[in-house]
């Protein structure tokens, strides 16, 4: 088996452990877009844990270069403005669709939620179409 697949499997298992801990400890879904979006409409008593979660993500990001080689390599051959536009689409789309890869893709599918299965099938298909169309127009060169 390809070593990258083994890393993907172990890293994925770790994501599953994190999602399980979130549910067991706090009863919440480890959906990253939802957790971040909650900070934009702050409700008293519902802010600190969200900030702590984001801080944990950033702390992990700071530790990653010590644990593995080049964790943040492989940026696409596109322009900065297209990355900003992508961010806009992802922010808007995940709030409209109530979740992203973590909330729908990992947590939702794990509890066999039909909503999350549909959402995941749709965003993967839409991602495939976007990449295919853009590649054929020479966008990633």
């Amino acid at each position: 088996m390809n070593i990258e697949w083994v890393h993907a499997l172990w890293g994925g298992a770790l994501i599953g452990v994190a999602a399980s801990m979130m549910l067991l400890l706090t009863g919440r879904i480890a959906g990253i877009s939802g957790i971040v979006n909650g900070l934009l409409s702050p409700v008293r008593g519902d802010i600190a844990w969200r900030l702590c979660f984001v801080l944990g993500l950033l702390a992990g990001g700071a530790l990653l270069p010590i644990i593995i080689q080049n964790p943040f390599s492989g940026s696409l051959a596109t322009s900065d403005w297209s990355v900003g536009l992508a961010g806009l689409l992802v922010g808007f789309g995940t709030v409209l669709g109530s979740g992203c890869t973590s909330g729908h893709g990992v947590c939702g599918i794990s509890r066999l939620s039909p909503r999350s299965m549909v959402a995941t099938a749709v965003f993967v298909t839409s991602g495939i179409l976007a990449v295919t169309v853009l590649t054929n127009f020479g966008f990633f060169q």
Partner: protein, 140 residues
Amino acid sequence: MKSGFSALIVGLIFSLGLGISGMTNPQKIYGFLNIFGQWDPSLMFVMIGSILVHSISYQWIKRRPSPLFGQWPIQADRKITPRLVFGAVIFGCGWGLAGYCPGPAIVSAASLQMRPIIFVGGMLGGMFIFKILNLKVLRP
């Protein structure tokens, strides 16, 4: 206090999982979505690993009368709505365009590279635009 510390630890573990699995590498996302080109199936293994662990633990955790700290939330909406589908379509386009989804982008922003920081800025902007539209247009 307890929920804050729990969230910090969960965020840290989540982040390491995203990095180790390759989700913070936009080329890997591109390779996974490029099924008509040189397909890279590795991200399928991320899904398999995470869902395998969490689907088993979920069956066990949901039997508890409550989580360790706090209460179970009220059951969320279960309907498949146009909002859900359109949202997923828009999200997928952005995911393919930059090779980032929300979690890996925030984790990568810790590297202080420009791209993930621009992405996260755009993402917060998109969420803010939604908030304004939702207040003024979608629900007048």
